[in-house]
Symmetry: C2
Subunit: 272 residues, 2 copies
């Protein structure tokens, strides 16, 4: 292979690291790929690290020792959070989103890869996921979001289903009470999906009373699994007391006024 120049090596290295957040690449990986000496690669890494920091594009960490190497860690600053969350709030405030019953049409926003990629990185900046094993969500609307969080944290995604399916093998099912409607609902999960004794973070798109989140917490108990955190894109302001206690909402939905056609939604103040 033709030898790359320093700036070309750096370009390729950033692409590889950035595409695989939180994956550790050994120095050998790059010395072989670029046919370069270890000292050269180490110098390249310093440049990459400085560039990411100066431009607030995340962090690059080197790990020394036998299992050592380098990895890219997505990290958003408060000003970046503000920019992203204000843009999303603005889009979700468009009054033609109001549906009968005071619901908000928002699938165009929460299925947009560009938007939820940024949101995934905000979540990755809020949680300590150093010993977390899985990201957990429940079908359907939260899946794209949860996948982007899983990608940023380099963790596998687990999706709870409403019904058990033949393609899941033996499953565990639980009933739970939707906190807002009081209705009994069901969720189910393949017994193979989670190793007992694991740690998880729960991600969902929306929380009103928190019943669904509590259902997921209950399901995790069936798998002897510890819930290390709960993140939701949008939490309603009322009821202020949710069924679950510790959760991080990125946006607060204060009010949808069907008659006046107004929507009041804004970023969670502690994040911006």
């Amino acid at each position: 292979m033709e030898k790359l120049k320093r700036s070309e090596r750096i370009a390729a290295m950033v692409k590889i690291l950035g595409d695989h957040p939180n994956k550790i690449f050994t120095l050998n990986h790059f010395t072989e790929k670029f046919n370069s000496a270890k000292s050269t690669i180490s110098e390249d890494i310093v440049v990459v690290k400085q560039a990411m920091e100066k431009m607030s594009l995340g962090k690059v960490k080197t790990i020394s020792g036998a299992a050592g190497g380098v990895r890219y860690i997505p990290f958003t600053t408060k000003s970046e959070n503000k920019r992203i969350l204000e843009k999303v709030s603005e889009r979700l405030s468009q009054n033609d989103r109001i549906l009968p019953g005071g619901f908000l049409y928002m699938t165009d926003v929460i299925y947009s890869p560009l938007i939820i990629q940024g949101i995934g990185e905000i979540f990755a900046s809020q949680f300590d996921y150093s010993d977390v094993d899985y990201i957990v969500t429940v079908e359907t609307k939260g899946i794209p979001l949860a996948l982007m969080v899983a990608k940023a944290m380099n963790l596998p995604l687990v999706i709870l289903r409403r019904d058990s399916k033949v393609t899941e093998g033996s499953t565990v099912s639980i009933n739970y009470v939707s906190g807002s409607t009081g209705k009994i609902q069901k969720m189910s999960l393949s017994r193979r999906a989670i190793k007992p004794g694991s740690k998880v973070i729960i991600i969902d798109d929306f929380m009103k009373a928190g019943g669904t989140a509590q259902g997921m917490v209950d399901m995790m108990r069936e798998f002897d699994t510890e819930v290390k955190g709960i993140g939701v894109l949008i939490a309603t302001k009322e009821p202020e007391k949710k069924v679950v206690e510790d959760y991080i909402p990125l946006l607060i939905l204060e009010e949808v006024q069907q008659a006046e056609k107004t929507i009041n939604i804004y970023p969670n103040a502690i994040l911006i």
Copy 2:
């Protein structure tokens, strides 16, 4: 802001371009961000372009004129396809995946962000999506995959639901016949989800007889929408004649032998 060195600018530029595939960034975007002259940025782009090409990490295209700028286009070579698809085939061939009824347990693979990111880029390299408006899938198992395709192509994702939901507003529902079981099933989509006259690519995780894919094609007709392509991660070898004609499978599942505990799955030969 402190001025960046060339290699630092290049590192930051690759991160920004790579995070936003197919999004056009103007030269001005970078001249402002890096406080540098247009000629300097143009030289940087040439380096980035060469590095991506030399290392087969995708393409960087410059667009001249008033609406001009630069964008990153994910592109996988045949040898990259081979590497990714053989790895996925190998994982899916583990004989403890066989479920009662000869089904394959595969959610751990198709919900793995790292795996499906690569698969999304393979799909993006197979389709001409220059005039496509949406990626369309049906819940649930195909969603992570379809999102990664949507991300690689920089297109919004549309998810067909099995039932209509209050959070979707008015919906269009159709019945379709599952080609393999002969059962009547339902899918529904919000009337707001797709603009009439659009073009779409359909993505799903699995195709046996093709009934679900045909259902999606029928649904698109209800929205006056043209289907430009269909991509599935896995197609079964039998029946060879599917209900839909033009589709691209990445993997072929030839056989699951429950008694012998063997699975025969391999990459689509034309891709590798």
